[in-house]
Amino acid sequence: MFKFLYHYSSLRNFYFFSEKLLPFLLITFVCLVTYSIYGALISAPADYQQGDSFRIIYVHVPSAWMSLLIYMVMGLSSVSVLVWKIKLAEITLSAVAPIGAVFTLIALVTGSIWGKPMWGTWWEWDARLTSELVLLFLYLGVIALLNAIDDRRTGARSASILCLIGIVNIPIVHYSVEWWNTLHQGPTVSKFSSPSIHIDMLIPLLTMTVAFMLYCLIISLYRIRTMILVYDKDSQWVKNVITDNREQI
């Protein structure tokens, strides 16, 4: 198991392994996303209260989940950076941070757009949206710290420490915001308040989430692969890769 991990955490091996993996991921993603869009926009029935405007959950909910998932990935990378000093984890951390920030932003914007018909305002200090907003600032903090340090290894280590402080804080922020929210406003209309979501609505939501995950994975892999080339730019294998590509063109 460890031998396996060690093998694929070497930058060169990961580069070639991910090259083989990417086509499969792309095909699966295209199939899933086509099906999910069809399911979300056509086969799912309109909500009896919200009409068609509820369909924004097919973007909002997966984005919100991605924003948390990517932070968890960053947390795992941080542990690998600090404990095992794995270069691939350093690269992963800086590669996925902006992706996570963008999905947090998408979740916020779609949540706000959805809020307009639901609450009548663009922004409501709802617990979920507020903690999502705090999460955005945690992402921006990690990105700011990564950018402020020129040396990429110390930069990755510093960002890892910040990221782990963030991991401990996310649940605390989340529950304190929720508690604050119920205290000030009484229970708000939670987006999952309807206990039984119709199965035709649920299935596209789940497939859409998987599609979002695949999308994140694909984009991350592209970013990581580019960063690997920059990181190892002086080594022979990178030079070979670049000359090979040039010949193909």
């Binding site: 600032f137 903090g141 110390t154 605390i172 922020v173």
Partner: protein, 228 residues
């Protein structure tokens, strides 16, 4: 037993040095405190001089002023020790970095948390807070400011010596203070309604316990990273 006493002794020596150092460089000591008072007295101009209006905002307002003032005090915590190389010498002396991290946090609390809590008394009274709520406010500020110092020290260590570290440290640290702000401000406003805010104070104490156990590790590894 003897190792226990040397550990406490070392911690005491580390704290005393930092306090003495900042005491001599009085600007580092005074600016955050002046900032705290200034921010607080700005609110009546913005909101209303009516004591009834101010009273309802007093808790939250003093809490925000505390967060901001303590955040700006963070930059100086490691700055001169980093630029003079003293931090490096301390690390190379072989003293456990956990102790250094803890000592820096204690020194920060003594130098900015404690004066702020003391100054909060006249300021709170001028905002119309009654005696019972004042005691709750001071208790919540004591628990909260200690946690702020601990978290802030870790963030301060992470950003020392970086470009525009003064702003960076504030931007990095403030999101982590939100839970403290929630519990602290709510504790005060509840006490003004005549309720003893046990739950909120327990939460603040719990967060302090969590911070004491975890942040010195973060500070220690941040110091090591920034020096490498």
């Amino acid at each position: 037993m003897s190792t226990d006493t040397t550990t406490w002794n070392t911690l005491f020596i580390l704290v005393r040095r930092d306090v003495l150092k900042t005491w001599r460089e009085s600007a580092d000591l005074l600016y955050p405190i002046m900032f705290f008072v200034l921010v607080t007295i700005l609110f009546p101009f913005a909101l209303s001089p009516e004591i009834l209006v101010l009273k309802s905002f007093a808790g939250g307002l003093l809490w925000i002023a505390t967060l901001l003032a303590m955040s700006i005090s963070l930059e100086n915590l490691f700055k001169t020790d980093y630029s003079t190389g003293a931090l490096e010498v301390i690390v190379l002396s072989g003293v456990p970095l956990l102790l250094v991290g803890l000592a820096k946090a204690i020194a920060n609390w003594v130098l900015s948390g404690l004066p702020i809590i003391i100054l909060a008394i006249p300021l709170a009274l001028s905002l119309g807070i009654d005696a019972f709520s004042l005691s709750i406010l001071l208790l919540s500020l004591t628990l909260g400011s200690a946690t702020i110092s601990l978290i802030g020290t870790a963030i301060g260590a992470l950003s020392v010596g970086l470009r525009s570290s003064g702003m960076l440290v504030i931007v990095l640290a403030l999101p982590f203070y939100i839970p403290l702000l929630i519990f602290g401000a709510v504790a005060t406003s509840n006490s003004q309604a005549g309720v003893i805010p046990e739950a909120e104070l327990y939460f603040l104490a719990g967060l302090l316990a969590l911070a004491v156990t975890l942040t010195p590790w973060a500070t220690a590894s941040a110091i090591r990273t920034r020096l490498s």
